[in-house]
C-alpha cells in the first residue's frame, strides 16, 4: 500500500520535527497572548487572558509611538532597498558578462565587505556621520544600509544573471538594437524574478537591522521599529509588556507573512546563489 507508507512517513516526519516546531512557534504564541492580555493580568504567569483585550493594539499605537517608528522603518527599508538594487544591477551585469582588468579585485572587495558586519565598523561609521553632521539623520542610515546590502545583492544577481544566455542580447544587437534597448527589452524582463528576490532580502535586512540604528539614531523621532521596541524594554524599571508584545507582533507579522507567502521562491533563489 503506497498511500499508507506516505502517511506513516508523514506522521514520523511531523513527530521528529515537532520539538523544533514548538520552539519556533513558542515566541509567536507568547507575543500574541501577552499582547491581548488585560494590563492587570500581564504579570501573572497564566497562559490565557480572562478576556482578550483587542484594544491593546490601539492603545499600544499611541503609547509606543508606533506610527512614527513604522513610518521611519518603511522609509529606511524602501529607500535603501531601491538604492542597493539600483546600483547592484549594473555591477552584477558587468561581473556576469564582461572580462576586464580589476574584476578579481572588485569581487574580492565585495566578498570582504560582505563578511564585515556593521558592528566591526561601527566606530568608524559613527565618526563618518559625525564628521558629515548626519547623526540622527534617516537618509544617512539609508545609505549605510544600502551599502551593506550591495555585496549580497551583487552576489545574488550575478549568479542569476549568469544563467541567462548571452546569445539573447547578442541576437538583439544583430537585429540592430542598441545595447540599452537590448538590456531593457530582452535582459531586464528575464532578470525580473532575480531582482525581486534580491529586493525582498534587502528589505527584510533593512527592516530588521539593529546596531546601526541603535548607534546612529539618538532621537526618538528618528527611531526605527526595532529601536523603538527595544527602547521600551531596555533600562526601564516598569515595562508595559502587553504594549511591547503588541508592538513586536504588529512589526513582525507583515514581514513574516510576506516571507511565508514567497518563501519557496526566496529559498530557491538563495539556494541557487549559494550553490553557484
Amino acid at each position: 500500500m503506497k498511500i499508507s507508507r506516505k502517511l506513516k512517513r508523514s506522521i514520523l516526519s511531523w513527530v521528529v520535527l515537532s520539538p523544533l516546531i514548538v520552539a519556533v512557534l513558542f515566541p509567536f504564541a507568547v507575543m500574541f497572548i501577552t499582547a491581548i492580555k488585560p494590563a492587570t493580568e500581564v504579570l501573572k504567569p497564566t497562559w490565557w487572558p480572562s478576556t482578550p483585550q483587542w484594544q491593546n493594539f490601539i492603545t499600544m499605537w499611541n503609547a509606543t509611538n508606533f506610527g512614527a517608528a513604522l513610518w521611519n522603518s518603511v522609509y529606511v527599508a524602501v529607500l535603501s532597498t531601491l538604492i542597493s538594487v539600483f546600483v547592484s544591477i549594473p555591477a552584477a551585469y558587468a561581473l556576469s558578462r564582461f572580462r576586464f582588468a580589476g574584476k578579481g579585485f572588485v569581487q574580492q572587495f565585495l566578498l570582504v565587505s560582505q563578511m564585515l558586519s556593521p558592528i566591526v565598523l561601527v566606530i568608524g561609521l559613527f565618526r563618518l556621520l559625525v564628521a558629515l553632521k548626519l547623526l540622527d539623520n534617516l537618509n544617512a542610515v539609508v545609505f549605510v544600509y544600502a551599502t551593506f546590502n550591495i555585496a549580497f545583492s551583487v552576489w545574488m544577481l550575478q549568479s542569476y544573471f549568469s544563467t541567462i544566455p548571452k546569445d539573447l542580447e547578442e541576437a538583439a544587437w544583430m537585429e540592430g538594437a542598441t545595447p540599452w534597448q537590448a538590456l531593457r527589452k530582452v535582459f531586464l524582463p528575464l532578470a525580473l524574478p532575480a531582482m525581486t528576490v534580491t529586493a525582498i532580502f534587502s528589505f527584510i535586512n533593512a527592516w530588521n537591522e539593529f546596531v546601526i540604528a541603535l548607534t546612529m539614531l539618538r532621537n526618538q523621532a528618528s527611531y526605527t521599529l526595532p529601536i523603538q521596541v527595544f527602547s521600551l524594554v531596555a533600562g526601564r524599571y516598569t515595562v508595559e509588556w502587553h504594549h511591547v508584545m503588541a508592538a513586536a507582533f504588529v512589526a513582525t507579522i507583515p514581514v513574516a507573512v510576506i516571507f511565508a507567502w514567497l518563501q519557496r521562491y526566496l529559498v530557491r533563489g538563495l539556494a541557487l546563489g549559494a550553490v553557484k
Binding site: 506516505k6 512517513r9 512557534l25 504579570l43 563578511m115 568608524g124 549559494a274
Partner: protein
C-alpha cells in the same frame, strides 16, 4: 562594435563600488588611525600612541573573558545548528503530507528581526511572570521558577539556544540546495544493492553534502561571530558582564566607557580574524568549484 556605457564594465560597476568604498573604506581608515592614537572620550586625537591601545585591550581580563566566551558562543551555535539542520533538511527533502507548511514554519525565524526575537524571549524567560516557566511548570518539568536570564549559568546557554534556533533556516536552506543536487539514481542503485538507510546516509548523502556543510560552517561562523542583537536585547552582556562576547564588549568599550582607542584596536583585531574566516571560505568555495 557596441560602444555604449552599457557595455563598459567600469562605468557599470562604478556606482556600487564608489558607494561601498566610501562607506566601508573611510570608516576603516578612521578606525586604523584612532587605534594608533591617544584619544580622549570625545573622540579628539591627541598624538601618536604606537601600539598602546592594542596592548591595553590584550591585557584587559574582560577582553580575555569575552574572547573565550566568543569561542564557546560561536562553536556552540555553529555546531548545534549543523547538527539540527542536517536531519531537518533530510526530512524536508522527503515527500510527506504538510511538507509545505512544515517548511514555512521552519523558515519562519528568518523573517523576524533578531531584536524582536530576543525581546520576546527576554519576556518569555522572565523569572516570575515568564511563560516558559509557567509552561514548564504546567508540564510538571520544574516545580520552582528558574531565573533564566538573571544568572550566567543559565543565561548564556539560553542565548546560545536562541542563536541556534535563528540560524537553522539559513543552514537548512543551504542543505536543501545540496540534497537536491544529489542524483536520485545513486540512491536507487544503493537500494538495489541492499544498503540500509544508515549506510546510504553515511556513504552517499554525507560525503556528497560535505561541501555544503563546509560552506554552512564558515558562513555561520562569520554571522554568529558578528551577532549582536540576541545578547544585547536579552541581557546587554550582564549580569556583571558574564554574557559579554567580543561584539558586545566592543560596543561597551566604544559607546559606554568612551575608550575609543581601545575599541578601535579591538575592531581591527576582529577585522583581521574575519579576514582569515573569509580566506578559508574562498578556499572552500574554490575547491567546490573545481570538484
Amino acid at each position: 562594435m557596441n560602444r555604449s556605457i552599457f557595455t563598459n564594465p567600469y562605468v557599470l560597476i562604478a556606482p556600487a563600488f564608489l558607494l561601498a568604498a566610501f562607506i566601508i573604506l573611510w570608516p576603516l581608515f578612521q578606525i586604523g588611525e584612532i587605534s594608533l592614537s591617544n584619544v580622549n572620550r570625545f573622540g579628539q586625537l591627541k598624538g601618536f600612541a604606537g601600539l598602546e591601545n592594542f596592548a591595553a585591550v590584550v591585557s584587559d581580563p574582560q577582553f580575555l573573558a569575552a574572547g573565550w566566551r566568543t569561542v564557546i558562543w560561536t562553536v556552540g551555535i555553529v555546531a548545534g545548528t549543523i547538527l539540527v539542520s542536517i536531519p531537518v533538511a533530510l526530512i524536508l527533502n522527503e515527500d510527506f503530507y504538510g511538507r509545505g507548511l512544515a517548511r514555512i514554519i521552519v523558515m519562519l525565524p528568518w523573517a523576524v528581526s533578531l531584536t524582536m526575537t530576543a525581546i520576546v524571549w527576554r519576556w518569555a524567560l522572565s523569572g516570575e511572570s515568564g511563560m516558559l516557566n509557567s509552561a514548564l511548570k504546567g508540564l510538571g518539568l520544574i516545580d520552582q521558577n528558574i531565573q533564566w536570564l538573571a544568572q550566567a549559568a543559565t543565561a548564556f546557554p539560553v542565548q546560545i539556544t536562541i542563536g541556534i534556533l535563528v540560524s537553522i533556516p539559513f543552514t537548512t536552506t543551504i542543505f536543501l540546495g545540496g540534497l537536491s543536487s544529489i542524483p536520485d539514481d545513486l540512491y536507487e542503485a544503493a537500494k538495489l544493492e541492499g544498503a540500509s538507510g544508515w549506510q546510504i546516509f553515511f556513504s552517499i548523502t554525507l560525503p556528497l553534502l560535505r561541501p555544503f556543510i563546509n560552506i554552512a560552517v564558515v558562513m555561520n561562523t562569520i554571522s554568529v561571530f558578528n551577532s549582536f542583537p540576541i545578547i544585547w536585547a536579552t541581557t546587554q552582556g550582564g549580569p556583571a558582564n558574564s554574557t559579554d562576547i567580543l561584539v558586545t564588549y566592543l560596543y561597551k568599550l566604544g559607546f559606554s566607557f568612551g575608550k575609543l582607542g581601545e575599541a578601535s584596536a579591538l575592531s581591527l583585531m576582529m577585522f583581521a580574524l574575519l579576514l582569515v574566516f573569509t580566506i578559508i571560505y574562498v578556499r572552500l568555495a574554490m575547491r567546490g568549484e573545481r570538484a
